[in-house]
Amino acid sequence: MQIPYTTTARPDTGVYNAKLGVWFFLASEVMLFGGLFSSYIFLRIGAPVWPGELGGEMYVRAHDILNVPLATLNTMVLIASSVTMVMSWASLMMKRFDRYRLYMGATVAFGFVFLIIKAFEYGSKFEHGLFPSESNFLAIYFTMTGLHALHVIGGIIVNAYFLGPGAKMWKTNPQQFTNRIEVAGLYWHFVDLVWIFLFPTIYLL
C-alpha cells in the first residue's frame, strides 16, 4: 500500500502529511511545557522569597545558586545546533549529500555537548547536596531542565538514525528523505526554543 502525501502537499492542508503531523505533536508539547511554565509562575508567586531557603541560607537571586556561565554556553551550543540542523536540510535541497552528513553529524555532536555540560551542572548540584526534594525552586528547576534534556536525547536518537541507517532512503526516495529531515528539524528547533525560554526564566529572572 502506498502512503499518500509523503512528498507532495495534500490539497486541503497545503502541506505534506508528516509536516502536519509534527505540528500537531509540537502543539501537544507546547501544552506540556506550558503547564510546567504555569506551575513555575504559580510556585514563584506563592513564595515570599524566591529561590528561598536552601541549606540554612536564604537566597534571593537564582543565579547565586545556578551556574549562569554554563547555561550561557549551553544556550550558544543549542543555537549553533539549530544552524547546523537547517544547513543539513538546505544541503539536501541542493543535492549535496556529503555536506548533509557533515552538518547532521555536527548537530548530533552539539546535542551530546549540551548533555555533557548539563551533566556537569547536575553533578555540581548533587555534590553540594542540592536535590529536587530540597525546595520548590530546585524541584521545578530539575523537572523542567530534566524534561528538556530528555527531549534533547530524543532528538539525538532521531538525528543519529537519519545520519546512519535512515540515510539509505536518500538513494531510493530523496524527496521523502529531505522532508523527513525537515520534520526532524522542526522538532529540534522546538526543543531549542524551549531552552531559549527556560534559560532566562529559571536562571536570570
Partner: protein, 64 residues
C-alpha cells in the same frame, strides 16, 4: 510553517534573548558578567547578520 520560517522565528527570538542577556549582565555587573554580556551582544549581532544572509540564500523556498 516550513523549517525555513521556523528557523527565522527561532533566530529572531534567540537574538532578542542574547541582547536581553547582555543587558542583564551589565545590570548585574562584575568583570565575568561584563565579558559574558559583550560576548552575548556580539553573538546577537552575528545572529541578525546570519538571519539576513539565510533569508537571501533561501529566498526561493516556501514559508508554508
Amino acid at each position: 510553517m516550513s523549517l525555513k520560517a521556523f528557523h527565522i522565528f527561532f533566530i529572531a527570538v534567540a537574538a532578542l534573548t542574547l541582547f536581553g542577556f547582555g543587558v542583564w549582565c551589565v545590570l548585574v555587573g562584575g568583570t565575568g558578567y561584563l565579558v559574558m554580556g559583550v560576548v552575548s551582544f556580539i553573538a546577537g549581532i552575528g545572529l541578525v547578520i546570519y538571519g539576513v544572509k539565510f533569508l537571501q540564500k533561501l529566498k526561493d523556498v516556501r514559508y508554508l
